[in-house]
Symmetry: C3
Subunit: 140 residues, 3 copies
């Protein structure tokens, strides 16, 4: 069994935004030399997501609006008890649960085994500082 580990760092200028990280994950798969296996990609921070969806800017705008409705940003401790700790990012912890922490992608014939529109995104919900994503590949 082969394994390969890589850490990617992203500093997203906005509080909330999505970054297409498919090229970096594809590069990690090539480096791993794995032909058949699994590729885990996860946010290492708990106010960020890794998810697979469409690379379409209109959809990304829709996601932001929708997530803001489901879990509005509000730095006050009245709405969110978490913000009593001096944090202002309770909403980001909720947005991350809706969008998910991680994806697991099959590797077949040395490549990410994707459907026609699948792309991997880093989802940032409390940005403006460096945060890490883990890529772990196992297989043969």
């Amino acid at each position: 069994m082969k394994s390969h580990t890589e850490y990617l760092t992203f500093t997203v200028p906005a509080r909330m935004d999505f970054v297409n990280i498919t090229p970096q994950v594809e590069a990690a798969v090539r480096k791993s030399g794995v032909r058949e296996g699994l590729c885990l990609v996860n946010a290492m921070h708990i106010t960020a997501s890794v998810f697979i969806n469409d690379n379409e800017t209109g959809l990304h705008a829709d996601y932001k609006k929708w997530l803001e409705q489901l879990a509005p940003f509000d730095p006050s401790p009245q709405r969110y008890a978490h913000n009593r700790t001096g944090e202002d990012n309770a909403d980001a912890h909720m947005k991350r649960q809706v969008m998910g922490r991680e994806v697991v992608v099959a590797i077949t014939n040395g490549k990410l085994d994707f459907g026609p529109w699948e792309q991997i995104f880093y989802g940032e919900f409390d940005g403006r500082r460096p945060k890490r994503v883990l890529v772990k590949i196992i297989g043969e």
Copy 2:
């Protein structure tokens, strides 16, 4: 290490519906010959889900109603910017995030290591055309 890859195709007649795909995944596990390992099952389309829950028609009706409240179908570009592209399925991209893209199931003693009520479902949110699900098994 053994690996096994299978592609399942589903054409769901309704826009939104759930299909129990546990038998097909169990068959793939048998074919793989894997006794101890992991089984990834993921939607290959970004307006569909694979999830594990109860095989109960009342609950499925509840899920549909609930998802429709969280992310209503609306083909107009007023509510969803994604629909400016000529698509009408922005809501489906959101429903899929709530229900998830994939499940990873343990294989123990040659079988899916399930709790008492766990069943695997394909969740379709923009149906009426053929869409694929990937089953990837690795182990020994």
Copy 3:
């Protein structure tokens, strides 16, 4: 390839609560002898979650309030068709979908490869009875 399987049982006194199960998962990783691999942790019941987030009581209170807004507890069959079956836990099946069934965590150098604040939680949405969590580790 090595593999290791463990079943944890939790009886949560409240209907909804979160239990930090990181120490039990770390112990399973040590027992497995795996240095490089993947660790799957999943709820075996369909009204419970396993998720990774912050070990902060204010945030946990926020999650409970938020999930109750997204999918209110209501034992009546008027709101939830599932409750016509004699169950009263349809809401728990929805809360579990928002928080997720499972996490997959990388094992690097014999340890869970975590970011600074990542902790694994068992999320119970229909407690007061024993329910199981599966830990499956594969690697080398």
